[in-house]
Amino acid sequence: MSVRILLADDHTLMRQGLRHILEKHADFDIVAEASSGIEAVEAARAQKPDVAIVDVAMKELNGIEAASQILKCSPHTAVLMLSMYSDERYVLRAVKAGARGYVLKNSAGDELISAILTVQKGMAFFSPAVARIFQDGSARLKDARETSDRFELLTSRERQIYQLLAEGNSNKEIATRLSLSLHTVETHRWHVMEKLDLHSTAELVLSAVRRGLVT
C-alpha cells in the first residue's frame, strides 16, 4: 500500500528536488503539490493525504498555521514540517500546531524518507541536529517565571513510562514489558501528560529530547 503525500513548499526548485527524492521510492505517491500555505490547506482538504510535508516559512499562510488548518480539515494526516531553521522555537510551534515531525532541509536528502515512514506509523521524528539543540541547555534563557523542572513532579514509575513512551513504544508494548495492565499504563501516561503539561505524543517526545532522556 502506497503512502499518499502532499508536498508544500513555495520554493519551486526545492519542491522539485524533494519530489525527485520521493519519486525514487516506489511506495510514495505524491498526490498534490502546493506553493503556499493556502494551497496546501486546499489540497489537504481535497486529497486527505497520509503525510503532508509542509515548509515552515511560506508566503500568505505560513507552514505552522497551515499545519494546524490541515489537521483540522484532515485529522488523520501526519504533518511533517520542513524547515531551514533548527531554532527550537520553530520546532515548539510546529509541535504545538500538531506536527509529528520536523526535518531540516539541508539534511532532507538523508532523512526525509525515514521521517515519512516514521510519522506515517504514528511516531515522532526530529532531525538529529534539532534534537541536539534541545539538549544544549547551556545558552538557554532563564525564564523568570519558569518553575523548577516539572520532571521532578513525576514518580519513578511515571518517569520509566515517560522514557518508554518517548522512545516510541506503544501503550501495549509498555504494558507487556513492565508486566502491567494496559489500563494502568494508560493511567500513568495520563498523569505524565498532566504533570508535564503535554497535549500530544509529539510534545511528549520533544520534552524528553529536551531533557536529554532520548536522542
Binding site: 531551514m84 539541508n106 532532507a108 534563557l141 525564564d143
Partner: protein, 453 residues
C-alpha cells in the same frame, strides 16, 4: 540684518532726541525763571530808589520852606548864616538825590525839567540870607507869596511828573515782563509738546520694531517646528526604508541562496547514495563539498538573521525577542533574565520591529558600554499598552535635560526614541553613573489597533 541695525540706530537717536529736548526744556525753564526774577528785582529796586529820591527832595523842599520861615522870624546876620549853612546841606543832599534820580531814571526830559526848576528855586532861596536881612513881615510875606510858594508848587508838580513817569515805567516794565514771561512759558510749552510728540513717535517706532521682532521670532519658530516635523518624518521614512531593505535582503539571502544551497546538499547526499559512486576519492570529495555547502548555508542563515530574524515574521514578537536574548547570552555571557506576560504573537509589523530593534539597541549598549553582570528584560501586554523594560546593573551614565545620555554614544538610543515615536510610543531612560540603566518602551495599544487597521 542691515535693516535691523539702521532701525536700532533710528530708535537710539529717537531716545537721545527725547532726552535732549527734555534736558533743554529743563535748562530753559531754569534760565527763564532766573532771568525773570532778576529783571523783576531790578525794576522794583529802580522804582524804590526813585521813590526814595523823590521823597528826599520833597522833604528837603519842605525843610527849606521851614528854614526860610524860621529866618524870617528873626532875620539877623547870625540867623542868615545858619540859614545859609542849612540850605547848603539841603542842596548837597538834593544834588545827591538828583544824581541818583537821573541815573535811575530813563526819562531824561522830566529829570532835566526838575533840575531846572530846582536850580531856579535855589537861585531864589540862596541869596536870602543876604538880601532879606532885617526885612519886615510884610516884605517877607510878599516875598514868600511871590517867589517861594509858586516855585515850590512848580517843583512839586515836576516831582509829581517824575513820579508819574516812574510809576508808568514800572507799570510798563511789569507788563513787558509779563509778556516776556508768557513768551517764555509758550516756548517751554512748545518744547514740552515737541518732546511729547517725539517720545510718542519713538514709542510707536519701538512698539512696531518689537512687534516685527516678535513676528519674526514666531515665523522662525514655526519654520523650526516645521523643519523638525519634516526631519522626524524623514527619519521615520528612513528607518522604514532601512527596515524594508533589511527584510528584503534577509529574505533573499535565506530563501534564494539558503534554499538553493540546501538543495545542493540534498543533491550531493543523493549523489553519495548512488550505487555507481564507489570510488573512495569521489565519496570523500562529495562529503567535503557537502560540508562546504553546509558551512555556507550556516553563514547565509546567520547573516540573514543578523539583518532581520525570520522569527519575527514567521513566529511573532516573543520568539524573536527570546532568540535575540539567547544570542546575546551566548555572545556576552551576561546573566540574562526574561519575563513575558500576556503578550500576543502578532502586532502590526511596525510595532514588532520597534520593540525588537529597541531591545537590540539596549542589549548592544549593555554589552559594549555598561560592563553589567546581569540584565533583566520584561515584556508585558497591559490593557492599554505594550511595555518593554530592560534593566542592567552596569555602570550607567549621566542624562541631559532631554533624558538622553550626555555622551554622543547615545545616538543609538536617540534612534530608539525615534522608533518609539513613529508608533506613537515613548522611550524612557533612567540612568545615573554607578546606578545601572533602565530603559522602558511604552507603546499605547489604541495606536497598535489603529496601525493594524
Amino acid at each position: 540684518m542691515a535693516g535691523a541695525l539702521s532701525k536700532r540706530a533710528v530708535l537710539r537717536a529717537g531716545y537721545a532726541g527725547v532726552v535732549a529736548v527734555l534736558v533743554l526744556s529743563a535748562v530753559e525753564a531754569y534760565r527763564i525763571q532766573s532771568t525773570i526774577s532778576r529783571q523783576h528785582l531790578e525794576i522794583y529796586r529802580q522804582f524804590v530808589d526813585q521813590d526814595a529820591g523823590l521823597g528826599t527832595l520833597r522833604r528837603n523842599l519842605w525843610l527849606a520852606g521851614n528854614y526860610v520861615r524860621d529866618f524870617f522870624i528873626l532875620p539877623t546876620p547870625a540867623q542868615g548864616e545858619l540859614l545859609h549853612s542849612q540850605l547848603q546841606d539841603l542842596k548837597n543832599e538834593n544834588e545827591q538825590a538828583l544824581q541818583h534820580l537821573a541815573l535811575s531814571s530813563n526819562d531824561a526830559g522830566t529829570a532835566a525839567k526838575l533840575r531846572k526848576r530846582l536850580d531856579e528855586f535855589w537861585a531864589v532861596v540862596d541869596p536870602l540870607p543876604r538880601t532879606m536881612l532885617h526885612t519886615t513881615g510884610g516884605q517877607q510875606y510878599d516875598f514868600l507869596q511871590r517867589e517861594i510858594v509858586p516855585r515850590r508848587g512848580q517843583l512839586y508838580n515836576a516831582m509829581l511828573a517824575l513820579a508819574g513817569a516812574s510809576q508808568q515805567r514800572f507799570q510798563n516794565s511789569q507788563s513787558e515782563f509779563a509778556s516776556a514771561r508768557r513768551q517764555a512759558a509758550g516756548r517751554l510749552l512748545m518744547m514740552l509738546v515737541a518732546a511729547l510728540l517725539l517720545s510718542v513717535l519713538v514709542v510707536r517706532l519701538s512698539l512696531r520694531h518689537a512687534e516685527n521682532l516678535e513676528l519674526q521670532a514666531e515665523r522662525h519658530y514655526a519654520a523650526v517646528e516645521q523643519t523638525k516635523g519634516e526631519l522626524q518624518q524623514l527619519s521615520a521614512r528612513l528607518l522604514e526604508i532601512e527596515e524594508e531593505g533589511k527584510r528584503k535582503l534577509s529574505r533573499e539571502l535565506h530563501d534564494e541562496i539558503g534554499q538553493t544551497l540546501a538543495l545542493l546538499q540534498i543533491e550531493i547526499s543523493h549523489a553519495q547514495s548512488l550505487p555507481e559512486v564507489r570510488s573512495a576519492a569521489l565519496i570523500g570529495s562529495l562529503g567535503r563539498a557537502r560540508e562546504l555547502a553546509e558551512r555556507t548555508v550556516q553563514t547565509v542563515r546567520d547573516t540573514a538573521l543578523l539583518l532581520r530574524p525570520a522569527l519575527l515574521d514567521d513566529l511573532g514578537l516573543v520568539p524573536a525577542l527570546q532568540f535575540l536574548l539567547e544570542n546575546f547570552l551566548r555572545r556576552s555571557r551576561i546573566a540574562t533574565e526574561f519575563t513575558e506576560e500576556g503578550v500576543a504573537d502578532r502586532f502590526p509589523d511596525a510595532v514588532m520591529t520597534c520593540v525588537y530593534r529597541v531591545l537590540q539597541e539596549a542589549l548592544h549598549n549593555c554589552e559594549k558600554h555598561s560592563g553589567a553582570a546581569r540584565v533583566r528584560v520584561a515584556v508585558r501586554q497591559l490593557p492599554e499598552c505594550l511595555l518593554l523594560e530592560v534593566e542592567d546593573n552596569g555602570r550607567g551614565f549621566s542624562l541631559n535635560a532631554n533624558g538622553m545620555p550626555l555622551k554622543s554614544s547615545g545616538l543609538g538610543l536617540l534612534g530608539s526614541r525615534e522608533r518609539a515615536a513613529i508608533v506613537g510610543g515613548t522611550l524612557a531612560i533612567d540612568s545615573a553613573p554607578g546606578r545601572g540603566t533602565r530603559i522602558a518602551l511604552r507603546i499605547p495599544l489604541p495606536a497598535v489597533c489603529e496601525a493594524a487597521a
